[in-house]
Amino acid sequence: MKTFSRIAASAAALALILECGCGHKQIVTSQHEQTEITLSWWGNDSRNEYTLEAVELFKQQHPDIKVKCSYSEWSGYEARSRIRMISDTEADVMQINVGWLGQFSADGTGYYDLSKVSDYVDLSSFPDEILSYGTRNGILNAVPIAMNAETVYINKSIFEEHGLEVPVTWDALFKSADVLSKDNIYPLSGASKAIWLYCITYTEQKNGKTILDDKGNFAFTEKDWETAVDFYIRMVDKKVIPQIENFKKVNIEKGEYAGAVAWVSDAINYFDSTQKNGDEVIAADYTAFTPESSGTGWYEKPATLYAISKNTDHPKEAAILLNFLLNSKDMAQLQGVEKGIPISQTALNTLDKKGMLSGLQYEASEMMNSNDKLREMDPVLENNDIINDFFSTCNLVMYDKASLEEAASGFYTALNEKNLQ
């Protein structure tokens, strides 16, 4: 009996071992779940590269958050962004233009209320007056990254080679064109929006009135528009600038353009290669009739802003990413002054400590900050439809399809009919 018990016990033990080793068990594995959020921005190669690098660092610091990026150059981005916003398919975190706030969030509900995620976004780094740029109807929709203004950049080396001083007045600009055009060089150049704003600056200075009245309505008359159209045509005719349809940024590198009107945030984008070629490029005084009035008719605005989608399913994660983009040392160092001098005090301190507050972009920012004549830009001045219509009007005159008066009148009428304000 004792022996039987022992054999039974041994058999039971063996059965247990076999059960452990050979039993059929259901195997269940689970993937590590990450919260996926999306980030969209526009920019050139440089911005795309450092932003992607920053996102990689963010993902390393926050392994539970996966960030999917969507980006492209500016061209077409605005239209796509509009579609995304209207169709509720916008990214969780977005780089936006200041004009979009009025377009998509007139009552402040078009973007996420960032005060709800203030536990995750350090807003103390931003002055209240700056945050007001991103506030609609008392609701904080977006946080500005830096301030921006159209700036006149001059390749001083080319001007000096031709015995010219850096032009400060309109007259000096046109006179420089007389000299430089002999070598097929334009003293200035610019994309359509920059030249459009340049024409408005000239018109405001010449006619002594602003394009918009205090209520934001267009205040230019037909005569004012005649001045603007005529100014553009004269600049093209006198070879001050290339026709905007023919503008190619690459011609700056090639020395065919000795300057450009461009955003503070575009300084590196436009002139990095030129500077690397050894040319001296400076941020010139804002063009005016007299040096003393430099800055009159020029506008500043937030360069870009970051906002969170009102539809986001992950406001906390989006806010953590937003804070990283605005305030982290990593992003500050990677971004430098590419978007202008950062408004975030934290980011600014980082750049200061690293000695990164220098260069053409920094000079342009300093010029903008030190000129108290610059006024806040109304988003309507960046409306692409108006800008395209303006240059179509100019072309009508340039190609003798209409008189200056007829063309300006037609533009004025169309502008008022669209009631775009």
């Binding site: 041994s10 071992i17 080793g21 594995t29 993937q31 590590h32 050139n44 190669d45 795309n48 590269e49 992607l52 990689e56 999917k68 990026c69 969507s70 980006y71 492209s72 150059e73 061209s75 077409g76 239209a79 796509r80 579609i83 349809e245 190619k248 940024k249 690459v250 590198e253 090639k254 984008n269 290669s273 179509s392 072309n395 190609y399 399809k401």
Partner: protein
């Protein structure tokens, strides 16, 4: 050595054999378990490696399908530009173009192209003319990259004659963008491009395959895309290149790498690779686990074998001990029989070290025949048994005690008191006196009973003999002297008895 089992150590032999048996079984069990474990692991390895290679190959093919699907979608998005008639009828190089009309046409084409690509992350989506005029979305980066030779350089990217199109990446070692070019007409090319990093969504692999490197390379094995972002634009690492060069669809696994390659399009390859030690890390852990289980099983088996063996041999050992006792002991007195005594004593004497002292005490019961005759053999047997008891009480376990004749007993004194020869002899004398006294006390002869006394002869080792036989003979001579002296006394062998003692 005990008084009862000091002649043949048979139980020890059984123990030694038991130990050998346990060790033997253990060795066999370990060998068997090791062999079985090894075979199991090898078989598992083969199956696992086949599966891993198969899965890697499947992943590579899946990546290839993803990539082909992505490229096909991009081509479709490019082709859709032909839905606008102006895109393929307008020629910006035509000298007869009205400048104003041309501007408006280009604006219209540009708007159309923008609307077609609006939801895609295209860097370029436009048309380049032979005079390098462009419409649509042509980025500054592309303009800078190709400069004044844009049309000529883009034309060289057309590699497929059937569809008049082609893909290119790495132009002038710029691997940031991938270009698709399609001829619109003799003087126009449709160009679309996207950042190489867009392929991240194409090559996104599950978290469980995080260690897998996924690369897209061109025909020169330069990396267009890599899951290791820093590798973009660099040559394929040599260890990987060596394994895939010249292959269009294969999976290779060796001690260092598992690599799969699939051709993609006409001149690109998707290469998935992972160090073998990473992918087989779990296998190695599993092998270690199996070996550990095998080792534990071996230990358990050995312990069980030992326990079972001990249990199984216990009766044998008892039987052997019993038989051994029967073979070596005198049944009546419980002391050694003559043969066992002789063998044990002879072994002790032979192995005695220099300076060792022993004494052989030979005893003979006086008048024992008369006891048997008058009181019966049963009483005689009691006397003999009693004698055995007296001797066991008198001597220690170190001493050899045997019954060497009917009423003759012999003791080889092995216990050694400290001191010189005289002291040792005194020690023996005291033993002899004690024996005589004890016999006298037990058998007084009063009340009609027989008085039983004992005659004792003593021989000293090594002075009286250096062999068992010589010593025994000397003791016998001394016993004879005691008998001659009138019994009930003891005598030591003396030198004048040399004629019988072989010293």
């Amino acid at each position: 050595m005990s008084k009862g089992d000091n002649s043949i150590a048979s139980p020890q032999k059984v123990n030694r054999q038991l130990f050998s048996m346990v060790i033997g079984y253990a060795v066999i069990i370990v060998i068997v378990i090791l062999t079985v474990t090894n075979l199991a692991i090898k078989k598992t390895d083969n199956v696992l490696q086949d599966k891993v290679v198969s899965m890697s190959s499947s992943l590579d093919v899946q990546m290839k399908l993803n990539m082909n699907s992505y490229l096909a979608r991009m081509e479709s998005l490019g082709t859709i530009a032909f839905s606008e008639e102006k895109t393929y009828t307008y020629d910006a190089t035509d000298p007869n173009n009205d400048e104003y009309e041309a501007l408006n046409t280009e604006k219209a084409i540009t708007e159309k192209l923008y609307s077609l690509c609006i939801m895609e992350n295209f860097v370029d989506y436009g048309i380049v003319y032979r005079n390098n005029r462009t419409v649509g979305k042509i980025s500054n980066g592309t303009s800078s990259l190709f400069g004044d030779r844009m049309f000529e350089e883009l034309s060289t990217m057309i590699t497929r004659q059937r569809t008049n199109d082609g893909w290119c990446a790495g132009y002038q070692d710029n691997f940031k963008r991938i270009y698709y070019v399609k001829r619109v007409h003799d003087n126009a090319l449709l160009v679309l491009s996207f950042y190489t990093s867009e392929l991240e969504s194409v090559f996104d692999n599950p978290e469980t395959l995080d260690d897998m490197d996924i690369r897209l390379v061109n025909k020169d094995y330069n990396i267009l895309y890599s899951s290791r972002k820093e590798e973009s634009g660099k040559p394929l690492p040599t260890p990987i290149l060596e394994r895939v060069k010249g292959k269009t669809s294969a999976s290779v696994m060796d001690d260092n790498y598992l690599v799969s390659v699939s051709s993609c399009g006409e001149e690109w390859y998707i290469i998935c690779s992972i160090p073998t030690d990473i992918i087989l890390r779990e296998k190695n852990d599993m092998s270690l686990f199996i070996f550990m289980v095998g080792a534990i099983a071996a230990i358990v088996a050995m312990l069980m074998c030992a326990v079972f063996s001990i249990k199984m041999t216990e009766p044998v050992k008892q039987a052997v001990a019993f038989l051994n006792t029967r073979a070596t002991n005198d049944q009546l007195t419980g002391i050694l029989n003559k043969q066992a005594f002789s063998e044990s004593s002879a072994r002790l004497i032979t192995s005695a070290s220099d300076g060792a002292e022993h004494a052989m005490i030979l005893l003979d019961l006086d008048n024992f025949k008369g006891i048997n005759d008058s009181l019966g053999h049963a009483y005689g047997d009691k006397v003999l048994a009693k004698t055995g008891s007296i001797l066991r009480a008198e001597f220690s376990n170190e001493d050899f005690i045997g019954r060497v004749g009917g009423d003759e007993f012999c003791v080889l004194v092995n216990s050694i008191p400290s001191g010189n020869e005289t002291d040792y002899k005194d020690f023996i004398i005291s033993k002899c006196q004690s024996l005589c006294r004890t016999f006298g006390e037990n058998y007084t002869g009063e009340d009609g009973t027989y008085k039983v006394s004992v005659s004792i002869g003593v021989a000293m080792f090594p002075s009286d003999g250096k062999t068992f036989e010589a010593l025994f003979s000397a003791a016998d001579k001394a016993l004879y002297k005691s008998k001659h002296k009138g019994k009930d006394t003891y005598s030591f062998y003396e030198n004048d008895d040399t004629e019988v003692a072989d010293k």
